[in-house]
C-alpha cells in the first residue's frame, strides 16, 4: 500500500522541481468572473510579451481558479522566488505589458499597474479551507493539485483508515451540510453506510440555483479535483461504487473542468477500478441539469439524473433508503464534499479549531449588492456579520447607510442593522428568521425598499415552482400578486392580511422546501420592516353593510 503515497509524491516532486526553474510565476485568474472581465486577453498578452522578450523559459504563466475579489478583476498575482507575492487588480493589456516589463523581467513590482494592498481585510480576514488552492493552482492540471497536497487524504484513507474510521473523523469534525439546512454530514454518511445492498450512489449537488450565488460554481471551476476527492472519500466511507456530479448547464466552465479532472484522475488511478491499487473501485459521471432551481432539491435532483421531470417527491422514504433507481443514495452539497479532504488530511481537530462549537469550520459566501468589494470569501463560522460587511466588503459605497443583509436567497431573509453583530452560523441566522442557505449574501443600502425585495424573491419562486403541489404552484402566484399590489401603492390592509395568511398556508402545506420556504423573505421583511409595508398601503374602503346601504338610499329602509 505504501506505493500509493510514493506515486503521489513523485508527481508532486516532479511538479515542484519544474516550478523551481522559474524566477517568477504569473497566476492569472481564469474563473468565470475574471474571464468575463477579459482575463483571457491578459493572459495572452503576458505570454506574447514574454515570448517577444524571449523570457518564456524564466517565467511561468498559470491560469488559476478564483482568488475571490471578483469586483476588481481581472486579477493577476505574481509569485517570485522566496515568499514574495504581489497581487495586481483590474489588469488590462497595458497593465499586463507593464507587469512583464517591470516585474517579470525587471524584478520590481509594476507601479503602473494597480496593486492590491497586502493588508486588504477582504483577504486577511479569510480562512481558506475549501478555497485553499483556488487562485494558486491551475484547475486543469492534476499535477498542480497533487503538488499542493491533493489526493493525500484519499491515499491516507485507503491505506490506513477503514470506512468507519472515515465516518468517525467526519463526525468528530462536526461537518454540517453546506447546501442550506446544515444536516450533520457524518449522520447521513452513516445512514448510507448502514443501508443494505451493494449498489449505492453518492451525488455531489452542484445545482446552485439561488440568484446571485456562485460559491459552488467557483469551487468546481477553481479546484475540481478537490470535489472529486471529497466525493471519492464519501464513496469509500459509505460503500458507494458510483458517484454523480450534478451541475447546471449554465456552468459550462465548471462542467468542462470537472470532466477534464475525471479523465486525469482516471488515468492516474485515482478513480476507476482499484483506486491507487486498493480494493476500492469508484467511478464518477457528470450529469448536466437544465438549470431549474427546484432541481437542487434532492429528490427532484435524483429524478433529473434518472432522466425524468425534475419534480420533488414525497419524503420519506429518504434518499438513503430509496434513492437513484431505487437504491440507497446520498446527496451532499459540493462545498460540503470539498471540506472532506482537508478533514481527513489534517484531522478533525484542526478542522474544528475554526468556527463555532455547533458550526465548526468555514463557510464560503458570495458577497454581492451594495458593497465596495464584492466577490467570494471564505470565513470562519461565527464571524460577526458586521466584519463581513464593513471590513471585508469595505462598507457601503457612495456614503449610503446600511439597511439589511440578505442571506439564504429565496429561502432566507433579511437581517437589519441592529443584528449586525450576530455571529454568522446556522442557528443564529435561523433565529433571525433567515438562514445560511448555500451562501449568498446580498447587502442592501438605504435606497432599497424591502417590500420590493420580497417581491423580487417571490417572483423568483413563482417562476421556479415546479407546479406539482397546489399551494406552491398557485400560492406563489397569489403571494406575488399581493406583494405587487402593495409595492405599486394600491394595496390595502386586507391585502396585507391575505398575504400573511397565505404565506402561512404555503409554508405549512407545500410539498418541498421550495414552497415551504418561499414565504420566508416576506416573513422576515415583515418582521423587521413592517413599517415599509404599512406606509405603502392605501385606506381600506369602508364596508357598507346592508343597513347602511338601505339607510343611505333615497327610499330609506324598505
Amino acid at each position: 500500500m505504501a506505493r500509493n503515497i510514493i506515486d503521489l509524491d513523485d508527481i508532486a516532486s516532479v511538479e515542484l522541481e519544474a516550478r523551481s526553474r522559474y524566477t517568477h510565476r504569473a497566476l492569472v485568474c481564469s474563473s468565470t468572473g475574471c474571464l468575463s472581465a477579459g482575463a483571457a486577453t491578459v493572459r495572452s498578452t503576458l505570454e506574447a510579451e514574454l515570448e517577444q522578450a524571449d523570457r518564456g523559459q524564466d517565467v511561468q504563466v498559470v491560469p488559476t481558479g478564483c482568488p475571490g475579489l471578483c469586483s476588481r478583476g481581472p486579477l493577476v498575482r505574481v509569485e517570485s522566488r522566496g515568499p514574495t507575492t504581489t497581487h495586481y487588480e483590474q489588469v488590462d493589456e497595458d497593465a499586463a505589458r507593464a507587469i512583464v516589463r517591470d516585474h517579470l523581467i525587471g524584478g520590481q513590482p509594476a507601479t503602473e499597474a494597480r496593486i492590491t494592498p497586502e493588508d486588504l481585510p477582504f483577504y486577511v480576514k479569510q480562512h481558506r479551507v475549501v478555497l485553499a488552492y483556488a487562485g494558486t493552482i491551475d484547475p486543469e492540471r492534476l499535477e498542480d493539485y497533487v503538488a499542493a497536497g491533493g489526493y493525500r487524504a484519499l491515499s491516507k484513507a485507503l491505506s490506513t483508515l477503514s470506512p468507519e474510521n472515515v465516518i468517525e473523523e467526519i463526525a468528530a469534525a462536526g461537518l454540517r451540510g453546506r447546501g442550506g439546512a446544515g444536516y450533520p454530514a457524518a449522520r447521513k454518511w452513516k445512514l448510507l453506510h448502514d443501508a443494505p445492498g451493494d449498489e449505492k450512489y453518492v451525488v455531489a449537488n452542484g445545482d446552485e440555483g439561488d440568484p446571485g450565488a456562485f460559491m459552488d460554481r467557483t469551487i468546481m471551476d477553481s479546484d475540481p479535483h478537490r470535489v472529486l476527492e471529497g466525493l471519492a472519500l464519501a464513496a469509500y466511507a459509505t460503500g458507494a461504487s458510483l458517484g454523480y456530479l450534478y451541475v447546471r448547464a449554465e456552468y459550462p466552465l465548471a462542467i468542462e473542468r470537472l470532466e477534464r479532472a475525471i479523465r486525469a484522475a482516471k488515468r492516474a488511478k485515482l478513480l476507476g477500478r482499484n483506486v491507487l491499487g486498493s480494493k476500492f473501485s469508484f467511478d464518477v459521471e457528470v450529469r448536466v441539469g437544465a438549470g431549474a432551481f427546484v432541481c437542487g432539491e434532492e429528490t427532484a435532483l435524483m429524478a433529473s439524473i434518472e432522466g425524468r421531470r425534475g419534480n420533488p417527491e414525497l419524503r420519506p422514504p429518504y434518499p438513503t433508503e430509496r434513492g437513484l433507481w431505487g437504491q440507497p443514495t446520498m446527496i451532499n452539497n459540493v462545498e460540503t464534499l470539498a471540506n472532506v479532504p482537508a478533514i481527513i488530511d489534517q484531522g478533525a481537530a484542526a478542522f474544528a479549531a475554526v468556527g463555532t462549537e455547533a458550526s465548526p469550520g468555514t463557510k464560503v459566501f458570495a458577497l454581492a449588492g451594495s458593497l465596495t468589494n464584492t466577490g467570494l470569501i471564505e470565513v470562519p463560522m461565527g464571524i460577526p456579520l458586521r466584519d463581513i460587511v464593513f471590513e471585508m466588503g469595505g462598507g457601503i459605497p457612495k456614503g449610503l447607510a446600511f439597511k439589511a443583509a440578505q442571506t439564504g436567497g429565496p429561502s432566507g431573509g433579511c437581517i437589519p442593522e441592529r443584528f449586525l453583530d450576530t455571529p454568522v452560523d446556522y442557528e443564529h441566522l435561523r433565529e433571525l428568521g433567515s438562514m445560511m442557505g448555500s451562501g449568498g449574501l446580498v447587502v442592501m443600502d438605504e435606497t432599497v425598499r424591502m417590500p420590493e425585495v420580497a417581491r423580487f424573491y417571490m417572483e423568483f419562486c413563482r417562476d421556479e415552482s415546479c407546479g406539482k403541489c397546489a399551494p406552491c404552484r398557485v400560492g406563489t402566484v397569489k403571494m406575488h400578486a399581493f406583494l405587487d399590489r402593495i409595492c405599486r401603492g394600491v394595496g390595502r390592509q386586507r391585502d396585507l392580511q391575505h398575504l400573511e395568511s397565505l404565506c402561512r398556508t404555503v409554508r405549512e402545506t407545500s410539498l418541498c422546501g421550495l414552497g415551504q420556504s418561499a414565504p420566508n423573505p416576506v416573513f422576515s421583511t415583515l418582521e423587521h420592516f413592517r413599517d415599509e409595508y404599512v406606509e405603502l398601503l392605501v385606506e381600506d374602503e369602508v364596508f357598507q353593510g346592508p343597513e347602511a346601504l338601505a339607510a343611505a338610499s333615497p327610499g330609506g329602509a324598505r
Binding site: G467, C469, A470, P471, V474, A481, H498, T505, E508, T509
Partner: protein, 249 residues
C-alpha cells in the same frame, strides 16, 4: 402495495380516539376505515401516491410541519389530529387557490353536481374566494372522437396521467411546462385525437375529479365520473380475482 397482514396491530390515535392500524397503512387508509373524514383530491385508491393537492394535510404529534395523510404511513403510537381551525383554514385556502387558478364556471360545467372540487368547496364553505381569478387562456382539446379535454377545469391532480401510465400502460398524458404554466398534454403536446398510443379506454375520463375530461355529447351536469372502477380493478388485480390464484406482489 404489499399484501396486508392478517390483523391490525399498530396503535394510532386519531383525534383523541385510539385505533389499531395495519402495518404499512397510511393515515388516510386508517382514517377511512374507521370513518374519519379527511378531504382528498389527487389521491385515488389503486393509483400511486402523488401528494400534490395537499388537502389531506394533518397534524402529527411532535412534527413541526403538517403531513399529507395520503402519503404518510402509520407508525406506532402516532397521534394524529385531522381537523383544527388552522388546518381547516389551510384547506379552505387551497380550495380557493384551485378556483382562482382555473376557469371553473360551475353553471356551465358538464360535471356540475358530480364534481369533487365542487364538493370540496361546499365542505369548506367556499362561496366566494379571497384571491383574484387568474382567468388563464386555456385551450380545449376536442380532437378525440369520443372524449373531450377542457383545460379550464383541470386541477392538475394527475390522476389521468397516472391511470394511463399505471393501468393502461399507454402513458398518453403528461404535464408540460412548470409552475403556473403547467398543463396536461397528450403525447409530446399533440392533439389527443392524433395520439397513436391512446387506446380509447376512457379510464382517464372515469377518474377525473372535475369536468376537465368528459365523454363527448354530455350536457351540463350530465357527466358522472366513476373513479371507483379503478379502485375495484386495482383490488381485483392485487387479489388475483380473475385468474383464480393470488398474485404475489
Amino acid at each position: 402495495m404489499s399484501r396486508r397482514p392478517a390483523r391490525p396491530s399498530v396503535p394510532v390515535t386519531i383525534d383523541g380516539e385510539e385505533h389499531l392500524a395495519y402495518e404499512g397503512e397510511t393515515i388516510l387508509d386508517l382514517a377511512r376505515r374507521v370513518g374519519v373524514r379527511i378531504p382528498t383530491l389527487c389521491q385515488l385508491d389503486g393509483l400511486s401516491v402523488y401528494g400534490g393537492c395537499r388537502l389531506c394535510v394533518v397534524q402529527t404529534e411532535g412534527d413541526h410541519r403538517l403531513k399529507p395523510a395520503c402519503a404518510t404511513e402509520v407508525t406506532g403510537d402516532l397521534e394524529v389530529t385531522t381537523s383544527t381551525h388552522e388546518i381547516r383554514e389551510h384547506r379552505r385556502r387551497i380550495v380557493e387557490l384551485l378556483f382562482a387558478e382555473g376557469n371553473h364556471i360551475c353553471a356551465f360545467c358538464v360535471s356540475t353536481g358530480h364534481c369533487e372540487l365542487q364538493d370540496l368547496a361546499t365542505e369548506h364553505n367556499v362561496d366566494h374566494i379571497h384571491y383574484d381569478y387568474e382567468y388563464p387562456r386555456n385551450t380545449v382539446d376536442a380532437s378525440h372522437p369520443k372524449y373531450l379535454l377542457d383545460r379550464d377545469r383541470c386541477v392538475l391532480c394527475t390522476r389521468c396521467v397516472r391511470v394511463c401510465d399505471e393501468f393502461e400502460g399507454a402513458h398518453v398524458w403528461d404535464i408540460a411546462n412548470r409552475g403556473s404554466e403547467s398543463r396536461i398534454v397528450a403525447g409530446l403536446d399533440i392533439p389527443w385525437g392524433e395520439s397513436e398510443s391512446c387506446t380509447w379506454c376512457g379510464k382517464c375520463v372515469l377518474v377525473c375529479p372535475t369536468g376537465a375530461l368528459s365523454f363527448k355529447g354530455r350536457s351540463t351536469g350530465e357527466m358522472v365520473h366513476d373513479p371507483e372502477v379503478i379502485s375495484f380493478l386495482s383490488r381485483a388485480r392485487r387479489e388475483g380475482e380473475w385468474v383464480g390464484r393470488k398474485e404475489q406482489v
